[in-house]
Symmetry: C2
Subunit: 564 residues, 2 copies
């Protein structure tokens, strides 16, 4: 259990941050050690400002991304930025029969280091990632299609927050049982029974992180850091179109581990050429004992059914609903919803899809508004928000893949188009596909409409669903969450009874609810240390980011007891 000198230094350096994170997950107040403001970077030694981050990113393009990990048998990679440029980066392709044994060999020392040393090394990795936030921003932007500011924030500090949150939970869980205990059981007049006991958190085995295209770091870091902090080696299998942000992460992790006296093979990359299905192969390897996955319901369900040797944490697809009953801030509601529908072209797992509006209209601070008026006003709010092309592209980003574009084009066939999608020319990247959201009116009572609004239509496609009443909306909300899952639910109401009904629906169907958001917080955004991302209790995800259940089964506790 002896820690290398550098580990002691890392504990000293990062313990205050760890303690603050531990406090905050208990208080759920606002906190982050990772600045959001782009100008916060480049001020300190080693931290890159925007220009330096861009230069670092540019230097990676068109080259081989060396990782010096065992089992490299070739090079591959075909990332093309949604902004139109080929990244041209080649990553090592691996022989898993060489890499996995090397990763297992790295385990014992990491396991023996203990929870505090592991947490400190994880925080050092995160702090080095944080210093290169602008480099990551470029990498996230040019793989996910997020606009730069969003890529910088969601792909940078917000992702780092989620990673730190996972480390804090993992540390708390592992230290819940003391390292040592003395047990003395009275025996009446005889001597007590005495035992000395030790309790050790032991890792499960190799953890596999299967990354997604849209949020490679934000969705990848919780599982990666939860597994690493609990002593497991982590093999990162990025989405073939979003390798670079996770390759950078793996490189920084390997450097940090090696400098801290640990085997760098505790973190490795399993890049693939598109279509190689390496994830399915890796997922059922006996060495793989933990899997974190973000992606399609189909593959998530496959993992849950087939990777039986592993603990499987999945975030899959869902259908997010907003119930519109009434509001005392009609403009605020419309602006807030317009932003939520537009941000990153609705390509978030948390973007609302179905906006349920009573066909008899709603009451607002501006008087009664009919269903048609509400839909028209929402369409106008989106139009206004995205009226200026430069501002629009900074909000929308680029369409991540052609399937999203196809869904936008097909949406018009599903119902009456309340807001048509526009194509916008990106001023800087002419190759980018930038599309504004489409809003389609659907009648909640019609069977053909139901087929549309009860399927996930990933991308900037929303349905303004006319329902008979708010009670009807709540019933549809329940059904949607139960059958299709939901990462988020929103609701607008000034009526206490309605609020209670919606709240009850979300409590029983297990969905996270945002009520009456009209300002600068949006239903599709969650903050680490305070908000849960997903509930783990409906079909959209079997885990939440981040709670005790997310970390508690990534390790086990072994007790050794000795007669004292």
């Amino acid at each position: 259990m002896a820690a290398a000198p550098t580990t002691v230094q890392l504990i000293e350096k990062h313990r205050p941050t760890l303690d603050r994170a531990l406090d905050t997950v208990r208080s759920r107040a606002y906190w982050s050690p990772h600045p959001e403001h782009p100008k916060a970077y480049g001020q300190e030694h080693g931290s890159l400002d925007a220009a330096a981050g861009k230069a670092a990113f540019d230097a990676l393009l068109g080259g081989r991304f060396e990782l010096d990990q065992p089992g490299t048998v070739g090079w591959g990679g075909a990332e093309r930025s949604p902004y139109g440029l080929d990244l041209g980066v080649e990553y090592p392709l691996v022989d898993v029969d060489v890499l996995l044994p090397a990763m297992r060999e790295a385990m014992p020392d990491w396991a023996a280091a203990g929870p505090e040393a592991r947490a400190a090394v994880c925080l050092e990795i995160l702090s080095r990632i944080n210093a290169r936030t602008h480099e990551f921003a470029q990498a996230v932007m040019h793989t996910s299609g997020q606009a730069y500011m969003m890529a910088m924030q969601a792909g940078g500090p917000h992702a780092q927050d989620r990673g730190l949150e996972a480390v804090a939970y993992a540390y708390a869980e592992q230290t819940r049982t003391p390292e040592r205990a003395h047990w003395s059981k009275p025996q009446g007049k005889r001597d007590p029974l005495n035992l000395d006991k030790t309790f050790t958190a032991v890792p499960r085995g190799i953890a596999l992180v299967i990354g997604c295209n849209t949020f490679p770091t934000w969705n990848g870091y919780p599982g990666l850091f939860a597994s690493l902090a609990t002593g497991n080696p982590v093999l990162v299998k990025p989405h073939p179109r979003a390798v670079l942000p996770l390759a950078l992460t793996v490189r920084i992790a390997r450097e940090t581990l090696a400098e801290s006296g640990f085997d760098p093979n505790l973190v490795a990359l399993a890049a693939e050429e598109e279509g190689s299905r390496i994830a399915a192969t890796l997922a059922v390897r006996p060495e793989v004992r933990i899997i974190d996955y973000t992606g399609s319901t189909e593959f998530g369900d496959w993992l849950e059914a087939n990777a039986r040797q592993a603990q499987v944490y999945t975030e899959k697809a869902g259908v997010n609903t907003v119930v519109v009953d009434s509001t005392d801030d009609y403009r605020g509601m419309l602006a807030n919803l317009a932003f939520s529908l537009s941000l990153y072209s609705g390509q978030m797992c948390t973007t609302p899809q179905n906006v349920l509006i009573p066909r008899g209209g709603i009451s607002t601070d501006g008087g009664k508004k009919s269903y048609d008026e509400v839909v028209a006003d929402l369409a106008a709010a989106v139009d206004k928000l995205l009226g200026d092309d430069a501002r629009a592209v900074a909000l929308l980003g680029a369409i991540v893949n052609p399937q999203v574009g196809a869904r936008i084009d097909a949406a018009g066939g599903l119902g009456e188009v309340a807001l048509a999608s526009r194509q916008i020319e990106h001023p800087e990247f002419p190759g980018a596909t930038v599309r504004t959201p489409v809003i389609v009116k659907l009648d909640g009572g019609k069977t053909d409409a139901e087929a549309a609004y009860l399927s996930e239509c990933f991308g900037p496609v929303s349905f303004a669903v006319a329902v008979d009443s708010t009670a009807d909306a709540v019933e549809l909300l329940r059904r949607t969450v139960r059958e299709k899952g939901a990462m988020t639910v929103g609701a607008y109401t000034t009526d206490a009874d309605t609020e209670r009904l919606v709240e009850e629906a979300c409590l029983t169907e297990c969905a996270q609810l945002s009520l009456n958001l009209t300002g600068g917080v949006y239903v599709n955004q969650t903050a680490a240390f305070s908000d849960f991302h997903g509930s783990g209790g409906n079909p959209a995800a079997n885990a939440a980011l981040c709670d005790g259940a997310f970390v508690a089964n990534r390790f086990r506790v072994v007790e050794v007891r000795r007669q004292a």
Copy 2:
């Protein structure tokens, strides 16, 4: 969230016990609020002494066990005591299509009561069970075959301890996130973003407890109370030959719930006639979202593979090993091992099966002992321990079913018999089958021997396996745990290097280790609040009793956030 007055009183009554349990699972020191001494009962108002417990048990025999639960469609039951008497108790047979909806209806109020009220009601149930410990002792004795003292202790206070431990973990987990939080995010010169948030632990759905024959309460209570304390209704499906202890538990739980203002259908019994396979039917019902199971590996594996809609916690079979390398208390070691092999006729999931001894012998405080000497001395120690028939039956109890008897009879065919099993006449119950342990010598290097010692041989059958060296023993230990699983590992050594090797093996293979036990603590016994039962990390069980992982996924947290 308003608590009924009685709930407030229960919180007041039980909060100190809950707090002490919460403290103790953190310190892992010795503690129990449930006295072990038989004479501790009957002193207080409402608590039954041994005679009153016997009278209460006798009054149940030959009658219908009324539970007044919905969906009763008939009566059945054919329990025959391993001590030779037919219990003649009939239990309600249920129409699950009536019972399950009634249980679901009971959920919302229980969910709304909150973690503290639920914990208090659970502690009240346990305290009423505790008062009737002697009645439970009779019920456990005459279903499991345990001797009276063991049935009273393991089936009484020790089981109640494990239930309380689960309640404490459940309470801690649910209250880890505050009920309310205010979140205020600075926005530079602009006003901060403010949100008010509530966090509510919501139950998953109906929990199914599938009981076992040998420890109906001890193995049943952790899952039952963990699920109930986290808000889930619990359907108890006892082993058809060990219904009474769990039926009594269900009745007391239903009475307590009703008196506390809750729906008694939060806890119900699903008795069956032997061979009806109701467990497999219930396990895949969509309403069933949690399953706790103790029993065969075959059905446990089936549950894990097929009950995909549920969180499944299983304790299955394993092969427990003791490594004998050296000792400075040879007599103590032999006496300790002899007791472990004899207690409840070795019918514990924690009883050692394989005793690995170097064929070159071991060093002891009595000088070098050859393999043959160690085996002969162990046989003699068992013989001495069980030399007096009255003392022997009080330790051995009765053989739980004919299959165990058949395995004892077949053991002689597996190798040289070092100690033959004797049949003992029970002085009080002539119908009881009482058998002393058999010890068989096996050569660890022989393939046909391997088939024997690498299979679980449940009951009082032990193998003294000759191995080439202690290193060989540790290697076999590793392989046994990895391939077959283990609930316990024991080791005797005076050598620090050997101790380290065994410890490393247990850490990497994830098995709970007892070192050099020579006194009044035995490898097959664990104490709630301090020892983990199983590790959840080897094939013998996918969960440990009791840790964070055992409770954290029985509920989810739903957040509601509102603009402040």
